[in-house]
Amino acid sequence: METDWVGVVIAEARSQAPEVPDISWDQLEKLLRGMFSDKPLSAKPLASVASKLLNDMSSASPDSRTEQ
């Protein structure tokens, strides 16, 4: 059975820092899943992910950004 690397890494990250201000673990897990690919992501998709993350951060209200 193939290892669920996303789950493993998220568990490791949570054990090191249980709470990340302003971002939920669901969001981080989704972000990390997008980083697993057969080959390194090229510049365009990475820039697009970065832009979306920054937009999400600025549009999120303080309440919805708390730890879930």
């Binding site: 890494v9 090191q16 990340v20 972000l31 057969d38 080959k39 390194p40 992910v49 920054l54």
Partner: protein
């Protein structure tokens, strides 16, 4: 999974069609250099790597390896093909089109190149690799490639977030604003600043009803500027001198000097150029395919893509600090230039004309001339220490004198100037609250992504350690098989501390721990080590049953260690298909004698003649076709080659038949010639070598006749071939034929096994499988 057949057509050295038939067994293929052994290995790599052959990827290969994969003399109408059939009946096959693309090619799942094929040059190259290079080479075999890609993607994402949010630039702006705020407002908090704006608004615009802070600042500034415009000429002079005296020229010069010393010793254009090249190369690297090799854009050397990317990232990270120092220096120079420009503009105004005239000696004239003519735009691109010294020498006195002259300004001018300064700073501080939020958000995001990257890399490190420890156990065991009782031990892979993406090899050399084999091991030992690492890797991971192909990997090993490879293959890979290619005739002969004929087959290639004829198999398994290949042009060499083959073959046969040879002094024991062995074999053979079994035996007279004849010819023509070089073609031909026939007499014509196949325990003889042939010990 085992390979049954590898079929090539107009591929590399192959002409119309040639097949390596293994029947699912392990196989040793012998051929002189250039005979075509590696064409079969290339065929496997081409199929398993999806149309790539790493060692052929260089600047002359052309797109899709079009200049190197098809046979150079392929007829136009012919097709280049590779087909591999497997023991489960499946087939991987491709046809290579004239433009080098391939059709119907699907890579063989899980056949990782480094777990399947090892070539001679790769063994040494691996040991010579840097820690990072070894890591890149082994990473795919550790099963952690997806984690590594994710970690690299996260790193790139961090850079993207920083770049899109202009994090560093915004932080620098905030730092500047903070400095200005401290100057004007000290430690006052936001509320106190708001109250100061309110106070100024009531003072200059008492009727204003504006609530917006920015609008309030704008209204106040408009009124102050309006009042300044209506000042008297004298008041304006004071105002200008105050402005000139307030220029922080000394602080700006010091800032540039500090930044200069931070990058002292660096050569600006070189570093700048390197950064530009690396940035472009990084963009190029991200567009490249995920694996394989490319020629380095700088030196042309072929490097692994993973190593190439790792190298670029390492360099970029290393340069990040330098880049920041460069940015700080550029910002400091920009501030200094702005200050000089502001001073020039202020001191060029009409209202300070009289003040300038009052400073009328030569030195002041020189300083004003410098101020008026200094090329600020040039200063921006090149600000040397000599420029800073000139600014200090010629402009600082002007600023100080202007500052002194402004001290007696009328109070209303000082008040206007002070209020204007406060509101100007307030105007830029108020909107900076948004920047602070923006920076905080970006920093949280960056921290979170970096946190994920750290967690990913921790996993890589933990898992790598675990896998590397497992593999190291195999390496130690294999090393011990190849080097029993030697003073080089505890050979293992390890992850160097405090370095990411690095693997190295440690060992104990005569009791001392060594961090690298390159410190102490000879080339032969290094190659032996590379072989152990590759074989340990081949044993590790999935699939665990794919074939292993060793292409001429024992070149630099001495005879003793080459011999021990047989033990290694028997011990570690008895259940695995191994395909060994070698040009070493002695080793091939040894392998033929020592490896089990039931699980191993032996094949010899004819010397290569022309691309049109292509790769050809010898009719037998012996190496006498090498000698036949020399008949036309060099019959003496052909005779000499036949004699050399007999020297080694008979030495091994004598060992298997446990012949007792008279002791010779010193090294002569190891340098016996074919005649020495034949003399004893013929002497003993009359009573020992029997045929007609398994029930009634008689002397093997035909075999003995052939051996006697071979001995005679070797003594006459063989020695002539070696020493006087006057053997003619028919003589050499006859010598080769009779030698080959003589050796064949040890092989049973019924079961096709050698006479030493089975040792009939306790019975005092060895025999072939069916028992027709036997050799009795101690009867000579």
């Amino acid at each position: 999974m085992r390979i049954e057949t590898i079929k090539l057509a107009w591929f590399r050295g192959a002409a119309s069609s040639v097949s390596l038939e293994t029947k699912g067994r392990s196989v040793v293929v012998y051929g002189l250099n250039g005979a075509g052994k590696s064409s079969f290995v290339d065929g496997i790599e081409y199929i398993s790597s999806g149309g790539k052959i790493a060692h052929l990827a260089h600047e002359y290969s052309g797109r899709n390896l079009i200049n190197s994969v098809p046979n150079t003399h392929k007829p136009k109408e012919a097709e280049t093909e590779v087909a591999i059939t497997f023991s489960d009946g499946s087939e991987a096959k491709t046809t290579i089109t004239p433009d080098g693309t391939n059709t119907n090619l699907s890579a063989i799942k899980g056949w990782e190149y480094r777990r399947t094929i090892l070539r001679q040059d790769e063994v040494a190259a691996f040991i010579k690799e840097t820690k990072g290079g070894k890591y890149s080479a082994l990473l795919p075999l550790l099963g952690l490639q997806s984690l590594e890609v994710a970690a690299d993607n996260l790193r790139q994402l961090t850079r993207n977030v920083k770049s899109l949010s202009q994090l560093e630039a915004t932080k620098a702006t905030l730092t500047q604003l903070e400095t200005k705020r401290l100057e004007k407002f000290g430690t006052n908090n936001d509320e106190q600043i708001h109250r100061e704006i309110e106070r100024q608004l009531r003072k200059y615009c008492p009727a204003s009803e504006s609530r917006d802070e920015m609008v309030r600042c704008k209204e106040v500034l408009e009124v102050i500027d309006s009042r300044i415009r209506s000042l008297t000429a004298d008041q304006k002079r004071h105002l200008a001198l105050s402005a000139a005296g307030g220029v922080k020229l000394k602080a700006h010069v010091d800032a540039v000097r500090t930044a200069n010393s931070a990058i002292a010793g660096m050569i600006d254009p070189l570093v700048g150029h390197k950064i530009t090249v690396l940035k472009s190369t990084e963009t190029l690297a991200r567009k490249l395919p995920s694996e394989g090799e490319i020629p380095c854009p700088a030196c042309g050397q072929v490097v692994q893509l993973t190593a190439f990317r790792a190298h670029i990232n390492e360099e970029l990270e290393h340069l990040q600090g330098i880049m920041q120092t460069f940015n700080t220096r550029s910002a400091a120079i920009a501030d200094l230039c702005d200050a000089v420009k502001s001073l020039r503009t202020t001191l060029a105004r009409d209202e300070v004309k009289d003040w300038r005239s009052s400073l009328n000696d030569e030195i002041w004239a020189r300083d004003f001339a410098y101020l008026d003519k200094v090329n600020v735009e040039f200063l921006r691109t090149s600000c040397e220490e000599s420029d800073l010294e000139e600014i200090e020498r010629k402009l600082l006195p002007l600023v100080e004198t202007a500052s002194q002259a402004s001290l007696d300004s009328p109070p209303e001018v000082q008040e206007l100037l002070s209020d204007r300064g406060v509101i100007e700073v307030a105007k830029v501080i108020v909107p900076s609250a948004d920047l602070v939020v923006q920076v905080a958000r970006a920093e949280v995001l960056v921290w979170a992504i970096e946190h994920l990257e750290r967690a990913t890399r921790n996993q890589i490190k933990t898992r790598s350690n675990s896998v590397i420890n497992e593999i190291s156990e195999d390496i130690k065991r294999m090393w011990l098989t190849l080097h029993p009782g030697e003073a080089i031990e505890n050979v293992h892979l390890y992850l160097p501390k405090d370095v990411d993406k690095a693997i190295d090899i440690g060992l104990k050399f005569h009791g001392k721990d060594m961090d690298s084999p390159r410190l102490t091991l000879s080339e032969g030992y290094r190659n032996s080590l590379g072989l152990c690492i590759f074989l340990a890797m081949a044993k590790h991971g999935e699939p665990s049953n794919n074939p292993i192909i060793l292409d001429d990997v024992v070149v630099s090993l001495d005879r003793n260690h080459r011999g021990l490879i047989v033990d290694l293959l028997k011990k570690e890979f008895a259940d695995r298909q191994v395909i060994v290619m070698t040009h070493d005739r002695d080793w091939y002969t040894e392998l033929r004698q020592q490896l089990d004929g039931g699980t191993w087959s032996f094949k010899a290639l004819l010397p290569y003649e022309t691309p049109e004829i292509g790769i050809r198999w010898s009719h037998g398994t012996s190496t006498f076709d090498d000698a036949r290949g020399q008949l036309a042009d060099r019959p003496d060499s052909a005779g000499n080659t036949a004699r050399k083959i007999m020297d080694i073959e008979l030495a091994l046969i004598a060992e298997r038949l446990q012949l007792k040879l008279p002791y010779l002094r010193f090294e002569k024991n190891d340098r016996r010639l074919a005649h020495d062995f034949l003399e004893r074999i013929i002497g003993d053979g009359k009573k020992c070598f029997q045929t007609g079994g398994p029930t009634s035996f008689r002397a093997n007279e035909e075999g003995m006749r052939l051996l006697v004849e071979a001995d005679k010819l070797l003594l006459s023509w063989g020695n002539r071939a070696s020493h006087t070089f006057d053997v003619v073609r028919p003589e050499a031909q006859k010598l080769i034929d009779i030698c080959e026939s003589a050796l064949r007499c040890f092989r049973c014509d019924l079961c096709e096994k050698n006479v030493w196949l089975a040792d009939a325990a306790g019975s005092g003889w060895v025999q072939c499988q069916c028992g027709k042939l036997r050799w009795r010990y101690d009867k000579g």
